[in-house]
């Protein structure tokens, strides 16, 4: 994997864009920290692979929408395909911000990610010493 230094972040090429099609997921391991990377209908998201609650791997989490805060008795669905939930207890996180839906103080920790010139490029804070991809089981 290549890295490129920018002003206050470092770009890490995770893989070729063709290897992360809509519906596909990757785990990048950057200096020992696992980062889940998802392509959801063409939108790219990257966040820490460990739930801040009990450390379960978020890569197995469901991507969906959720019921928005509402008045008693109302169900209003929203944020379609923007929410990832922990595969164990179901804690919900907004993939755009990394923040949990129940407290802005709790976050799964998200990363900037984009497609640049046919590559999936992740932004991290400092020059990594090691970067790799990790295999995982995923059948859903």
């Amino acid at each position: 994997m290549e890295t490129m230094q920018a002003s206050n972040s470092v770009s890490v090429v995770v893989c070729a864009a063709e290897n992360l099609q809509p519906g596909q997921r990757k785990i990048a391991v950057v200096d020992g920290v696992e980062i889940a990377i998802l392509n959801v209908d063409g939108e790219l998201y990257a966040f820490r692979n460990r739930c801040p609650h009990q450390g379960v791997e978020m890569i197995y989490g469901t991507v969906s929408g959720t019921m928005l805060p509402s008045d008693p008795g109302e169900y209003i669905y929203g944020c379609d395909n923007q929410i990832v939930s922990c595969p164990l207890h179901g804690w919900e996180f907004d993939m755009k911000t990394g923040k949990s839906l129940f407290s802005s103080k709790v976050s799964v920790g998200n990363y900037e990610i984009q497609e640049i010139d046919g590559s999936i490029v992740l932004k991290v804070k400092r020059e990594p010493k090691s970067v790799s991809l990790k295999n995982f089981r995923c059948s859903h």
Partner: protein, 375 residues
């Protein structure tokens, strides 16, 4: 204050042994039971060659397995436990051994069947036939597959005579470590259950109560005051059931009658224990004359005869407060580790007990279960 882990912050220390008191095996398909069920039971349950698929989408007319009525809005089985072949979590003993027992270095994983709701079914003959068949399936497919798997045997609580027959049939088997009884609308302290307790004590098998039938089986009482509207309300109210059952056991004198019988309440949590003990003790001092067979403080009976699974562990505002709560009521010897794998509300040992002292973890992870199951 939330309990939030830092990256890679896990408990690296390995305690001596780990007994997991709640692992759920699932049938991938009900037809797995066919070799274990008599034809009459198969016919009633419309499985195998007696399948009535034409009626499967009707709301009446064919047998339907008693399902839990409350639907988790997310998932009831953890999604990271889907098998490599895409199978139902908990349906493959080999993968479960790798994904749970190997990963967390289990000494034993005690299996409580994932389809327990049939035990409280209204037709007791069918309930008894089903529980026998499912016990045999569980023993053959799971317990014999790995010496670390042990199991509780299911019996129907509605008909103790049939339950006793089943205990006499298989209760001696070495892989069986407890009796899985379901909650019905007869409190556990009642004489209805006493013959069953007598044989359980004789076989040195604890009675295990685990949520399954609550709000589901026809004999199940509604949640204390009436049906809940949401899964969250239902799930949170489960802990009330354990409190109510323990009060019944104490006040009916079950622990005087069967002093060597343990009652393991799994998946009801435990942080409610102080209020139950304190209130029962207070009431006993004033109202002792209506239960003169209760000869010592209720909390003493509870401490000696009742065991509580830690899961789903309550998360106190300050993580260390839950440890103080245990010390407050001297419950160190009462708590049993339970992962509840592969259910959605399970606890990860490394993170859920991060603030527990080592000597307490040793008791919770191993010693207490060793002393309360037939292991």
């Amino acid at each position: 204050m939330e309990t939030v882990l830092k990256e890679n912050e896990v408990n690296q220390k390995v305690e001596k042994g780990l007994i997991d008191c709640d692992v759920h095996p699932y049938l991938a398909d009900f037809n797995e039971l066919i070799p274990y069920l008599e034809e009459g039971i198969q016919k009633h349950m419309n499985i195998g060659r007696f399948e009535k698929s034409m009626l499967s989408n009707m709301n009446a007319g064919a047998f339907t397995f008693p399902k839990a009525r409350y639907a988790n809005p997310n998932h009831v089985l953890r999604l990271d436990a889907i098998t490599p072949e895409g199978g139902v979590p908990g349906s493959d003993p080999v993968f479960t051994a790798q994904d749970l027992l190997d990963k967390h270095q289990h000494t034993y994983g005690i299996l409580n069947i994932g389809h327990g709701t049939m035990a409280g079914y209204h037709n007791v003959e069918i309930a008894a036939g089903y529980t026998s068949g499912s016990n045999d399936w569980l023993y053959d497919r799971w317990v014999l597959s790995d010496p670390r798997f042990k199991m509780t045997m299911s019996v129907t609580p509605v008909a103790p005579d049939l339950a006793i027959e089943e205990i006499k049939r298989i209760g001696h088997k070495p892989g069986i470590v407890g009796i899985n009884l379901q909650c019905i609308n007869i409190p556990l302290g009642k004489r209805h259950f006493w013959p069953l307790y007598e044989i359980a004590q004789e076989y040195n098998l604890p009675i295990v109560l685990h949520p399954d039938c609550e709000g589901t089986a026809e004999y199940a009482p509604p949640n204390a005051v009436g049906p809940a509207s949401t899964y969250a309300e239902w799930h949170t109210s489960l802990s009330l059931i354990a409190q109510r059952q323990i009060a019944s056991l104490v006040c009916e004198g079950v622990f005087e009658k069967f002093p060597n019988l343990k009652f393991n309440f799994i998946e009801y949590g435990f942080s409610w224990l102080p209020s139950l003990m304190w209130r029962l003790d207070k009431n006993w001092k004033a109202l002792r004359s209506e239960m003169p067979w209760v000869k010592k403080l209720p909390s003493e009976y509870i401490r000696s005869n009742v065991r509580l699974g830690t899961q789903p562990i309550e998360e106190s505002f300050h993580p260390k407060d839950i440890v103080q709560l245990i010390q407050m009521v001297k419950a160190e010897d009462m708590l049993l580790f339970a992962s509840d794998y592969p259910h959605w509300d399970g606890d990860e040992r490394d993170s859920a007990f991060l603030h527990f002292p080592d000597d307490l973890k040793q008791k919770i992870f191993y010693d207490n279960a060793k002393n309360s199951y037939r292991l």
